[in-house]
């Protein structure tokens, strides 16, 4: 049944493009919405008929070798939710019908790519699905075909190609020494090695380096602020919410946990890169005027938290990393939706040209504030709990300096978000903004939905922890 996560979107894509009539074109949004919702709901309710059922005719025709565990379940859930949200934002912000149709098609393709990344158990298949997602992302970023978008996509394309070369080199070296590309065989090879050969070290470094580029971590973040800020609003939501995290961060988690294993050198590398990303992202966000660029730098900082938590190598650290992964997907997508709402209504993202919008856009203002507070780790919102788990994991694993860095960066996060909130929503309403109205319901709906998720995850933390987060620890075996 797992192959359905790849096959259903593929056949939907064929269907909507084969019967390219006006009626099908109008239905495309609803078909994609049902597809993404189905993915999220199937993970939340876990119907036993689906997960344990078999479809012999499909399995005979497409005998894909796939695998699922608790970590993959959280990822599938995140992909389903963010793709659904991005779809709604796209429906309400892309005015041209053909462009909207193309956007949905490429969104479904990216969805297939990310589902594949999550479900495969072979390092070469992983590369293939990474490429599907990467090519889809280039197309999505440059959807508007303006200079800024093309520049953003080009930077992403070049750096992503460098990452691809590094990963392919790594795969070649691993095949040379291990003789196979499956996670299991490579994992067994690493477990049985007392002394790691030089070329294997090169292979691991190249793969991890490639994933640092894909994840936009410091110092490989050059492409990220341009790509996030130049892409259309719905694409920024999708990129920041899930694509970068699945291609860079999840893949890194999966390979380290299931294939390479934790070694002191690798753990130190993760801790250092994580801490530098946290600090660099937070300090850079402080100096931004562009709303979207500030969110992009904030993303680098928040992804640093995930990496630093992974670097502890403990079950609690991994649980914290996965929980913060999910929370960040939710609140960062929400902030990018708020950015879309502001840009749609005021025509600018420059925070110096905004002010006092709280009275004119109360829903956008309220949802932004909740997302900011969650990002900064204020109780009882979702972000507080995941940061708390990360800090406890760092403290317990005797990485006290890193725990202090995580706490300090939380204060900086609060500082830049409060400053930003003050500049955009509070203070005196600027004269030129007096006729501004609240955003369209189509944009407010996803923002409110994500706010509800942020609050509910925070309030029902014990249930979420026991049902989704703690079971992730079992992947350490």
């Amino acid at each position: 049944m797992l192959s359905l996560f790849i096959l259903i979107p593929f056949f939907i894509l064929i269907l909507i493009n084969l019967f390219f009539s006006k009626a099908v074109k109008k239905l495309t949004f609803w078909i994609a919405a049902v597809l993404f919702l189905f993915q999220a709901l199937i993970v939340i309710f876990k119907p036993i008929e689906f997960w344990s059922g078999k479809l012999p005719s499909i399995e005979k025709l497409f005998p894909f070798s796939l695998y699922i565990d608790n970590l993959a379940l959280v990822m599938l859930l995140s992909i389903g939710i963010i793709a659904f949200i991005s779809l709604i934002v796209g429906q309400n912000t892309i005015n041209d019908g053909t462009k909207r149709f193309n956007f949905i098609n490429v969104l479904v393709l990216a969805n297939i790519g990310m589902n594949g990344i999550v479900l495969v158990k072979d390092i070469f298949s992983l590369y293939v699905f990474l490429e599907i997602t990467a090519v889809s992302s280039f197309i999505l970023i440059s959807l508007n075909r303006d200079m800024e978008a093309l520049e953003g996509a080009f930077k992403y394309l070049i750096l992503s190609s460098v990452a691809t070369v590094m990963m392919l080199t790594s795969i070649a070296l691993l095949v040379m020494y291990v003789g196979d590309t499956s996670y299991e065989t490579i994992g067994t090879f690493f477990k049985n090695q007392q002394f790691i050969p030089f070329f294997i070290l090169v292979a691991v470094s190249a793969f991890v380096g490639g994933l640092f580029i894909k994840g936009g971590l410091f110092p490989f973040h050059g492409w990220l602020p341009d790509a996030y800020s130049s892409a259309p609003s719905s694409v920024s939501v999708f990129l920041a919410g899930i694509v970068t995290k699945i291609t860079g961060i999840y893949t890194l988690m999966r390979l380290i946990i299931s294939v390479f294993g934790f070694s002191p050198t690798l753990q130190n590398l993760l801790l250092i890169v994580g801490a530098l990303s946290i600090l660099f992202g937070a300090f850079s966000a402080l100096g931004q005027k562009d709303f979207k660029r500030m969110l992009a730098y904030s993303s680098i900082s928040q992804m640093g938290y995930i990496i630093i938590s992974l670097g502890t190598g403990t079950p609690l650290g991994i649980a914290g990393a996965v929980f913060h992964f999910f929370n960040h997907a939710i609140f960062k997508s929400q902030l990018f939706i708020n950015s879309a709402a502001l840009e749609e209504q005021t025509g600018t993202r420059n925070m110096d040209e905004l002010g006092g919008l709280q009275s004119k856009m109360p829903v956008t203002s309220a949802t932004s504030l909740i997302a900011f507070l969650s990002t900064a780790g204020i109780p009882p919102l979702a972000g507080f709990w995941s940061k708390l788990i990360i800090i406890i994991a760092l403290w317990n694993s005797n990485h006290k300096i890193y725990a202090l860095i995580a706490i300090l960066a939380g204060v900086i996060t609060l500082a830049y978000f409060l400053s930003m909130n003050h500049r955009v929503f509070f203070g005196i309403l600027l004269e030129k903004l007096e006729n501004i109205k609240e955003a369209k319901p189509g944009i407010l709906f996803p923002a409110v939905l994500l706010t509800i998720i942020t609050i509910l995850v925070g309030l029902f933390f014990p249930f979420i922890l026991n049902t989704f987060i703690l079971p992730v620890q079992s992947i350490l075996g």
């Binding site: 790849i6 593929f10 894509l13 497409f62 005998p63 894909f64 070798s65 796939l66 053909t98 193309n102 098609n105 490429v106 393709l109 297939i112 790519g113 594949g116 495969v120 072979d122 070469f124 298949s125 293939v128 699905f129 490429e131 599907i132 090519v135 889809s136 280039f138 197309i139 440059s142 959807l143 075909r145 095949v175 040379m176 020494y177 291990v178 003789g179 196979d180 590309t181 050969p197 030089f198 070329f199």
Partner: protein
């Protein structure tokens, strides 16, 4: 050994040609040729799977994207093209030298390191490899090509209306 040497030399020439020529069309053709020669080398090294993937990804998708990019560019006159090629050769004269030095260093390194070279279990029947063993990857490759086609539609599908040239 002689065949490998000739093929490697051919691949090096094609790849240098791809970088050093001024004409984008010739560069794309040279890239496709590099990919084709690399595929032949892989077939000869009993890696049919890698060869087929190399051929399908590079000669397929990348060439499609390159050709599409070229279609956006303004065509050059013959004299402009010659001038640009000369300027490019002047700018990248050191590339062949780097290639030779790099090849020499790799040869020295390979003799000293002597890696185990565990050959993967190779099924000689290509169709069995593609449709039975690596079916998911083939499916993924088809999707990459599919995505590439979508990219071309998105970038160039409506181009005339916006004042560009086909």
């Amino acid at each position: 050994m002689k065949t490998y040497f000739i093929l490697l030399l051919l691949m090096a020439i094609c790849s240098l040609w791809a970088v050093m020529r001024g004409s984008l069309i010739r560069a794309a053709i040279a890239l496709a040729a590099t990919s084709a020669v690399l595929s032949i080398i892989m077939f000869k090294l009993v890696s049919p799977l890698a060869a087929v993937f190399e051929l399908s990804v590079c000669a397929g998708l990348i060439t499609v994207i390159f050709m599409s990019t070229i279609s956006l560019a303004q065509p050059l006159t013959y004299s402009e093209m010659i001038e640009r090629s000369k300027a490019r050769i002047k700018r990248f004269w050191f590339l062949p030298l780097i290639l030779v030095i790099f090849a020499f260093l790799l040869t020295l390194l390979a003799a000293n390191l002597n890696p185990p070279l565990i050959a993967p279990e190779t099924e000689k029947n290509i169709s069995k490899v593609l449709w039975d063993i690596r079916q998911l990857d083939v499916f993924g490759q088809i999707l990459i090509l599919f995505t590439g086609i979508f990219g071309v539609i998105v970038f160039f599908g409506n181009f005339d209306k916006q004042g560009g040239t086909k």
